[in-house]
Symmetry: D2
C-alpha cells in the first residue's frame, strides 16, 4: 500500500463543505484514493473522510495541517489529519484468556494489522510465553481488591511510558478507573462477549443460556465510564441452539469476539471511526 | 408429504427411555421418518420427538395414544401424539401493519404453511381487503383505553368460536390480558421487532437507533404474562450502519420479522417446539 | 421523503472530478443529502452518486441536465440525472411460482418500493387473481416451443406499450431473446435461485442437493445474452444441512430469492447500481 | 468432559434399527449423552451416532466392539466405535501462509481441539518458529516440479511414522498424489478458499473478483482424487462489495477459512461426519 494522508472531519452540516474541501485538495493536485461522506439529518452533523496519496500533495504532514486549518476553522470542524506511515502505538491488555490476544498478535505478526504493539499488560502470567515469542515486552500487573489504585497507577505509567495512542482490552477482565477512561477517551477499545445492549456486565454467556436466546454475539466498543455503554464500533453474532451448553456458547462466542475486535480495531487504526453523541460513524 | 404421527415427549432423564419407546414403535413395525433426542444435563430432563409413517402402524390416532399411555406413565412423561393430517387452527391477529400478516397469508395460500386460518382479528380495518381476498373472515375489534376488557372478551369469544389451537400476533400492537395468556399458554406466538432481550417494549427500532447498534433483529416467542419475556422460538438479525435512519431500520427489520415469525410458526405447527423452564427445545 | 435529484457518474479517474462537481453543486446552493464515491484502481475508473434536495437547486430536471452537461463532457462522463419524483415504470414477468411476484407486489402496495407497475406479463394464468386484486393489468402470454418468436414479439409489444423503464423477471422461467436483452440492457433484472457462479442453468436446487453444499443462495443480476452471466447486483444465502431435502431447499431458498430480488430492485430503482466491465458498483 | 464412547453407524434403512441399538445400550445400562439419527429417503440409508458415558457400560472399548458386532452384522452396518479418551493424531500440512495453521495451533494449545499433533509438514520454512514454540516437530519437505514423487514419498513416510489418523491441509498449496488420497480416504481434510462449487482450482479470490460476486466463502471438505470435488463438511461466507480489492478479499476470506476449517475438523475429531455418496451427514 502506498502512503496516504487521512483527512477526517465532523462538523455541523451546511452547503459547500465538500466543495471547499475537494477544491482545496484539487488545487494542490491531491489524488484521492477513497472518499466517504455522511450527513446525519437527525443531529444535523456532517462527517467526512478522505484518503489522499501522500506523494500527490506538495506537503508534509504538518504542512498539510497548516494549510487545511483555515478551512477547518471556517466550518467549525472537529478534524484530524493522519499519515498512514505513522503506525499507531497500541498497548494490549489481557487477563488469562488467550483467544483475542493471540488473534491480534497473529494478525499483527502476519502484517494484517498496521500498528506497533509496544507492550502487553496483563493481570495474569499465563500469556507471557506467546507474547514474548512475538518479541513484545510483557508486563505483569496483578490486580487485587486491596491494591487496585496502585495497580492502575502502574498501568497508567506503563501506557504512558510506551507512548500508547490506543489501548485494547483483549478480554481484560478488570474495570478501568475513570481517570484512565477519560485520559484515553475514544482510544480505549473493549470487546464485550455479548450482543449489547443484551447481557451487560459479568458472565454474559451464562445470562444468554438462562434466557434461551437463539443467537449469541460480541460487541467491540469504545470504553466510557459507564460499563458496556460506550459507542459501538462493530458487532458479530453466531447461531446457537438448545444443544449448546454454556461451554459451547463460550467456545462459539470466541470466534465472534475475535472477529468483531479485529474488525473494530482495524477501523480504528485506519481512522475510519468517528464518534458523535455516543454513536459511531464507521466508514468501512 | 405422507401422513405421519408425531410423538413428542419430555420427562426426567434416565436410562432406557429411548429403548422403551423405540421398542414400542418397532414392535408395531412403525417406520420412523425423523427422530430427535436431547438430554439437558443442567435440568436433568430428556426431550424426544419422533415422526412415524401413519400407515406403518396398526393404530388410528386414539389407538396409538391408548397404546402409548402406559409407557408415558411409567416414565412420568409430559407427552402428546399429533396427526400431521389434522391441521392446526391458527387465528391471526394484526393491527394496521401488513408485512407479517401478508407474509403468513401468502405462505399459507401457496401451501407452505400446513394449517387452517379460520379468521383474522384486527384492531384496525386496514387489512380487511387482502384477508378477504384469501377467503378468510376478518373481524374488526377496536381496542380503546376505555373498552379494553370488553374488546378482549370479544377477542376471546371469537378465538373460542373458531376453535383456535394457536393464536399468532402478527405485529398486533396490543397487550393481551393475563386470562387469555393463561388459557392459551404455549400456544400464543408473538413476533417482537428486536433482538431480545435487547429493546423490550415499545419502539425497539427507535431504541436501537439511539444506542447505535450495528445489527438489528427480531424475536419469535411464546407469549407469557410478562411482556416480551416468554420462551424464545427463533431469532433473526440483519446488519445496519450509521447510514440507516430509523425508517431504514423499520424497513430492514420487517424482513427479519417475517422470516423469524414464519420459521417459528412452522416449527410450532409441526410440533417441533418443546418448552421447559421458559426456554425452548426446537427440533428443527 | 423529500424530492431529490440523483446525479450518477462514471468516468476515467483523474484529479479534480469531485472538486468540479461539488463546486457546481455548491455554486447553486445544492443541499447534498447523500454522496458516494468509488475509485477503482484496477480499471482506473471513477464512480460517483449524489443525491441532492431538488428544492435547494434553481433548476428543474432538464435545466439541471443542461447546466451539468459541459462538466460531463469535459471529463468524458457516462452520466445521468434522475428525479426521485419520477417513479420508474417496472413490468414484472412471472410464470406460475408466486413467492417473488407476491413479495414485490406487497412491497409496492405497502409503499416500500417506489415505482409504478403498469402490468404483469406471465406465461401461466395462475397468478392473475392476486395481481388483479392489486389493481394491476395481467397479460397472459403463453410460450410454447413452436410459438416462441411470436410470444416474445407480444411481450416486447406489451413492454413497449406500457412504457417500461425496467423489466423484472420474478422467477419467469423462460429465456428472453437476445433482441430484448439488448434493447433493455442494464434494465432487465433476474433472480437466479443459486449462489452464482455455482449452479448455472436449470434446477439449481437439485444441483445443490447433489453436490451436498452446506449453504444455498440466490443471485439478483442484470440479464445479458449469456445465461446467468450478467452483472451481479445482490446475493443472499441460507444454511442447509443433510436433513434438508430438495423440497426443503426450494422452500428455504425462496426467502433468499425474495430478499435478494427486493434489495437488488430497490438499489436499481434508486439509481444506486453502476455497471462497468460486467460488474456492479452498488452505492447501497 | 467425561469420557464417552461414540457409536457411529450407517446402513440401509429398515424398521427396528434404533430399537435394536437402544435396547442393546439399555440392557447394559448405558447412559446416552447425545443421540442423532438421520433417514435419507433418497438413498434409503440410515445414519446414527450415539455418545455414551464410558463409565456407565461394563465394557472396555474392545469389549464394546465385540458385543456390538453381531448387531452390526445383522443390519449390514458400516460402523465404528471410538473412545473420546483416545485422541486422534492429526498431522498438519502447510505452505507459507500462516493463518489457518496458527489458528489450529492456538485452538489445540488452548484445549479447544481434542487431538494430538505429532508434527507439521510444510514445503516452506516460514512457519517453523511458531510451530516449534508450540513444542511440535516441524518437517520441511520442499516440493519442486522435478522432485514431486520423491517429496511425497517423504511426506507419506512422515505421516506413517507419526501414526497419523488424519491429515489436515491448512492452506497446503500442493496437490496430493492419488496414492495418498486413497490411503487416507475420508481422513484428509482440506480448506478451499472459495464457496464450492464456485471457483474451483487456483486463485479463487481472483476469480471471485473478476466475476463480481457479493459474497465470498470457504469450504472445508474431504480430499478425493478429483480436485476440490470431495465431500463438503462445512462452508462459511462473508459479504464483500465493489470497495473490496482482491487483497481485501484475501484478508476477509481468511476468517472464513479459519472458521470453516476449525469447525469441520472439530466435527471430524468428534466422529460427527459420515460420508455417503460423496456427501456428508454432519451431526453437529
Amino acid at each position: 500500500m502506498s502512503r496516504t494522508y487521512r483527512l477526517v472531519v465532523a462538523c455541523p452540516d451546511r452547503v459547500g463543505i465538500v466543495a471547499k474541501v475537494s477544491n482545496f485538495l484539487a488545487t494542490y493536485n491531491g489524488s484521492i484514493t477513497e472518499a466517504n461522506h455522511h450527513s446525519d439529518p437527525v443531529s444535523g452533523w456532517f462527517f467526512m473522510r478522505h484518503e489522499i496519496c501522500a506523494d500527490s500533495l506538495p506537503f508534509d504532514l504538518e504542512g498539510l495541517r497548516t494549510a487545511f486549518a483555515p478551512i477547518a476553522k471556517e466550518f467549525g470542524m472537529e478534524w484530524k489529519i493522519t499519515d498512514s506511515a505513522e503506525r499507531k502505538r497500541v498497548v494490549l491488555m489481557a487477563s488469562s484468556q488467550s483467544h483475542c490476544l493471540v488473534d491480534l498478535l497473529h494478525r499483527w505478526h502476519s502484517g494484517e494489522l498496521h500498528c506497533d504493539i509496544p507492550c502487553v499488560i496483563a493481570n495474569h502470567e499465563d500469556l507471557r510465553g506467546i507474547v514474548e515469542w512475538h518479541g513484545i515486552p510483557y508486563f505483569y500487573v496483578p490486580v487485587d481488591k486491596e491494591n487496585k489504585a496502585k495497580s492502575f497507577d502502574r498501568v497508567a505509567q506503563l501506557v504512558s511510558e510506551h507512548d500508547a495512542d490506543t489501548i485494547v482490552l483483549a478480554r481484560y477482565m478488570q474495570i478501568l478507573p475513570p481517570s484512565l477512561c477519560e485520559e484515553y477517551a475514544g482510544r480505549i477499545i473493549n470487546i464485550h462477549h455479548s450482543f449489547l445492549p443484551s447481557f451487560v456486565g459479568a458472565k454474559p454467556y451464562h445470562q444468554a443460556y438462562e434466557r434461551g436466546v437463539k443467537l449469541i454475539g460480541a460487541t467491540c466498543h469504545y470504553v466510557t465510564e459507564e460499563l458496556d455503554a460506550g459507542p459501538i464500533i462493530e458487532q458479530d453474532i453466531i447461531r446457537v441452539s438448545h444443544r449448546d451448553s454454556i461451554n459451547d456458547m463460550v467456545r462459539l462466542g470466541k470466534d465472534c469476539e475475535k472477529n468483531a475486535l479485529a474488525r473494530g480495531l482495524r477501523y480504528h487504526l485506519e481512522d475510519r471511526v468517528l464518534v458523535h453523541n455516543n454513536k459511531t460513524v464507521v466508514f468501512s
